[in-house]
């Protein structure tokens, strides 16, 4: 299996403050990986660094064999919280924007996902509930055909019915060879999706651990394991 993502010796500071320290990580393609950590642990920052949005001074990021930021951006689809759009923007305008900006964006794929999720093109951003907005973010992100998808807290604040729909759309539209990283601080909702887990704690990354190893070696569920790691009960 090839590494879709390789992070070597990454250090990241912001305003003199260490955000991420000595990060090394290699991910095989085709998996769904949970990126877990408390609020403010650096999950979003790490995703933005992987996606080539934030620049790093120290360390090397390789996505699908590419180290140039411009090529990385073509290989990574990072969920966007749509904060750059105006409240009066219609969904159709946002979709057109995505289609213009990303070469790998497929209108047909967007429409399939949007149909499944029940999104209405004519609605304005301001009129969307948190759940519907979350569905829109997922549809836009998955409609690109990237090697690596980064979903930053896709279920945060979302009601359980929308959550189930979003999870189904991830299962349905994930290609076998693409890889998905999902961050969350509420683990249970995504637990059944995950092949492997990465935990960020105190600016550092713990080794990648397969979910099955958590279950068979520690006899724990992901949530319990995560809590024990945070409490320092598992080193």
């Amino acid at each position: 299996m090839s590494n879709v993502l390789k992070i070597e010796e990454l250090n990241y500071k912001k305003g003199g403050k260490k955000i991420l320290e000595d990060v090394n990580l290699k991910l095989d393609s085709g998996k769904i990986i949970g990126l877990l950590g408390e609020n403010g642990a650096g999950k979003t920052t790490l995703m933005r660094i992987i996606a080539g949005v934030n620049s790093v001074s120290e360390g090397v990021i390789t996505v699908n064999g590419n180290t140039k930021k411009i090529l990385i951006k073509e290989n990574v689809s990072l969920s966007d919280h749509l904060d750059g759009f105006k409240a009066t923007n219609k969904i159709s305008e946002i979709v057109h924007f995505y289609n213009a900006v990303y070469q790998d964006f497929s209108i047909t794929k967007y429409e399939d996902i949007a149909n499944f999720l029940g999104l209405d093109m004519t609605k304005k951003l301001a009129a969307l509930s948190t759940g519907t907005r979350g569905k829109l973010v997922i549809a836009l992100t998955l409609a690109r055909s990237a090697k690596l998808y980064l979903l930053d807290e896709p279920l945060s604040g979302i009601d359980s019915i929308s959550r189930k729909k979003i999870i189904s759309s991830i299962i349905r539209w994930k290609d076998d060879d693409s890889t998905i990283i999902i961050s969350d601080h509420y683990v249970t909702a995504i637990a059944s999706l995950l092949d492997e887990v990465v935990i960020i704690k105190n600016q550092k990354i713990r080794d990648l651990i397969p979910v099955e190893q958590i279950q068979s070696d520690y006899h724990l569920g992901i949530e319990a394991y995560y809590e024990k790691v945070y409490l320092g009960e598992i080193q």
């Binding site: 189904s168 994930k174 076998d176 059944s192 999706l193 092949d195």
Partner: protein, 124 residues
């Protein structure tokens, strides 16, 4: 489907599919739903479904035909054997536990038979 958090999901899916095969929800020789259909139905990752199927293929319960998909075996003896195996596994821990209570085989058999009678009564 609700999963037990600390048991690998592929094993739970394997149990679920075996139950479907034994109870003939998927009958002998029938084509199984696709990996993705199962993944959606069970709300898990395709890799997890694939892993459960892989074990079942190794055990001969499911046959994979290149380009056609996965099928339940046509061999009734394999399914019968699977059922017997699940029955023994179910009894294993009970038997061991009752043995620890120093019950002999006759006592264990009697108590089980009484248990079943009681169940029948409650059902009526």
């Amino acid at each position: 489907m609700e999963y037990i958090e600390n048991i690998p999901i592929y094993l739970q899916i394997k149990d679920y599919l075996e139950e479907k095969i034994i109870t003939e929800s998927y009958s002998l020789g029938e084509q199984m739903p696709s990996v993705r259909q199962l993944a959606l139905e069970l709300a898990v990752n395709s890799n997890t479904v694939q892993k459960a199927l892989k074990v079942m293929i190794e055990e001969g319960v499911i046959i994979t035909l290149r380009g056609k998909g996965n099928f339940v075996t046509e061999n009734a003896a394999i399914v019968e054997e699977l059922k017997n195996q699940i029955v023994s596994e179910t009894f294993d821990s009970t038997y061991d536990k009752l043995h620890l209570l120093k019950m002999n085989n006759q006592e264990i058999t009697n108590s089980f038979s009484n248990y079943v009678k009681q169940k029948e009564k409650n059902f009526e």
